[in-house]
């Protein structure tokens, strides 16, 4: 059933018990993104140490998809080398924009693969991408150079 793929247990788990939530100091860049159609909000802070991320912290309010996505983002990226973090970022964006046709790389995306089902609900793709778009802006503000433009 499509629906169960949308609200996979992993997503509900991250929503009910988010990982790494809360805005932390120090940080190099911060971005606040809003989904104007539903009012979902997320603020992301990125701290960088050399060519590694030192922390990704966040705060937000919104639906299960957007908030679980922020929690998964934290798990996946918080301490990765910058270039790897962007590999994961790009893979997640590709998965979300793939209309359910993209086979996710479990090794790269970890719990992020649970969002594959979301890609089939165009109205919810923006929810899943919200923290990832905010992350990208925050990373740029933290002085990190990033890959090619992606469209939310």
């Amino acid at each position: 059933m499509q629906f169960d793929q949308l609200y996979q247990e992993i997503i509900l788990e991250h929503y009910k018990r988010p990982h790494g939530r809360g805005l932390r100091e120090p940080f190099g860049g911060e971005a606040h993104h809003v989904n104007p159609t539903c009012g979902d909000e997320v603020t992301i802070r990125v701290a960088v140490a050399g060519d590694k991320l030192a922390d990704v912290s966040y705060e937000g309010m919104g639906c299960s998809i957007s908030q679980a996505s922020a929690s998964v983002l934290h798990d996946l990226l918080a301490t990765l080398p910058v270039d790897e973090a962007f590999k994961v970022h790009d893979a997640f964006v590709e998965l979300m924009q793939g209309r359910g046709q993209v086979e996710p790389d479990e090794e790269l995306l970890g719990d992020g693969v649970a969002f594959s089902g979301v890609a089939r609900y165009p109205a919810r793709v923006k929810c899943a991408l919200l923290p990832w778009m905010a992350f990208k802006d925050a990373a740029v503000r933290a002085g990190v150079t990033v890959g090619p433009e992606v469209k939310a």
Partner: protein, 425 residues
């Protein structure tokens, strides 16, 4: 507003058979359409009339002597007469067709704008620094943004009626809010998010006392209960065809004849002129002056058919039916644990549009689970963000009813909400 006084006199089950879409399934369940405040479904009678118009009578209006052009013009102008009769307008020429409510409201806003920029124009439509426009916190964005933009262009000030905790319009500041500086008051007749029905009587009296004009946003009222523009005493109303069993692409600005005559044109082009020379043009009288270009002909005809359909049922019966459903729904929703209703909790003075929240569960998730059960509700800020801010929520879930809504559908909603609470509880 009357409540439950008139029993519904039509058979809802039989009526539903007129709406082909109500027979479909969504995600393996019978469709439960609870989003009529967003757009209504269309009966076969409307679809048939539109198809027949295209198949038999298609021609451009007001510019051909041939038979098809004449038939099309008769159909288009016939729709105008139906609209006028439906809201008890004194004359069909007071009905201006446009694309939707949003365009109708913008038409008036730009008439103000153009008058303000034109020396010698009618002073009632001239705005400048020191002048005021008054709206309310419960407006749809379509009755906010045009006035914000107008005030920015002219230097006038935008002022707001507040909303009470119960979701009623707060008129306690009426005499200071509407004063000698006020040029226009524009308020919603029935809120699309709170369901509140406003009685504009006091506001109209005060506005006219200080020489201000009144626009009523009838987008949610004209479809759902009898509206009589003369009894209301307002100067303009706006409404939109797709929320009243008609097609998209057709809306109405009704205005008092004398005011429409005093308004400068907004869009220039074919059909709105009297004569055109290379130096200067003069303009046709209303309503043609405000209908530049080929209008949405078949859409107007479809709206006319929708009005015939509603008139056959009788608007008092439509209202009585929705009052019954609303009373039933308010009670049923009150039985759902942690559910909070925004707007009046009683059926009196409200319509069949109910916004609510389930504590700790985002409306997006509510709407998604309900959709999986075939229950179609709207989630979000409903183009009325100031209301959400007023009640401290980013968004709400909204169920809205119409002539075809049944108590079984309300039951399906309540069952769906139980499932929502299981998934996210």
């Amino acid at each position: 507003m009357t409540s439950l006084a008139i029993p519904s006199t039509f058979d809802v089950a039989a009526l539903r058979a007129d709406f082909p879409i109500l027979g479909r399934e969504v995600n393996g369940h019978p469709l439960v359409y609870l989003d009529s405040a967003n757009t209504s479904q269309k009966p076969r009678q409307v679809l048939d009339v539109m198809r027949a118009h295209h198949e038999r009578h298609n021609g451009n209006v007001s510019r051909s002597v041939h038979t098809l052009g004449t038939e099309a013009t008769l159909a288009y102008e016939g729709a105008r007469e139906k609209v006028a009769a439906f809201v008890n307008a004194p004359a069909a020429s007071e009905v201006v067709f446009g694309k939707n409510s949003t365009e109708a409201i913008n038409l008036l806003a730009y008439a103000f704008s153009n008058a303000s920029a034109t020396p010698g124009s009618d002073p009632r439509f001239r705005l400048g620094p020191g002048d005021e426009v008054v709206i309310s916190e419960m407006e749809h964005h379509s009755n906010i943004v045009p006035w914000q933009l107008l005030c920015e262009r002219t230097g006038a000030t935008l002022r707001w009626f507040a909303v009470t905790d119960e979701g009623r319009l707060d008129e306690s500041e009426l005499d200071t809010l509407v004063n000698e500086r006020t040029k226009l008051v524009s308020i919603v007749h029935m809120s699309n998010i709170l369901g509140t029905i406003n009685d504009p009587a006091r506001i109209v009296a005060r506005a006219h006392e200080v020489g201000a004009l009144v626009l009523l946003d009838g987008s949610q009222s004209v479809p759902h209960f009898p509206v009589d523009v003369q009894a209301l005493g307002v100067d303009f109303i706006a409404f939109t065809g797709h929320k009243m069993l008609g097609p998209t692409g057709i809306g109405v600005l009704w205005g008092r004849a004398e005011l429409l005559e005093a308004m400068p044109p907004v869009l220039g082009g074919g059909s709105m002129i009297e004569t055109v020379t290379m130096e200067k043009s003069t303009f046709a009288p209303a309503p043609a002056r405000f209908e530049a270009g080929t209008p949405p002909i078949v859409e107007a005809v479809g709206l006319g058919a929708a009005i015939d359909y509603l008139t056959d049922i009788g608007m008092a019966a439509v209202q009585a039916h929705e009052q019954e459903i609303t009373a039933y729904a308010l009670e049923a929703l009150a039985s759902v644990p942690t559910l909070r209703i925004f707007g009046p909790g009683v059926p009196e003075g409200r319509g069949g549009t109910i916004s609510f929240a389930l504590e700790g569960i985002h409306p997006h998730d509510v709407g998604q689970v309900l959709d999986d059960e075939g229950v179609e509700v709207r989630v979000g800020h409903h183009c009325a963000r100031p209301v959400c801010v007023r009640y401290g929520v980013p968004a709400t879930t909204r169920a809205s009813f119409y002539v075809y809504t049944t108590t079984e559908e309300v039951d399906a909603l309540v069952r769906g909400l139980e499932r929502v609470r299981k998934v996210f509880g």
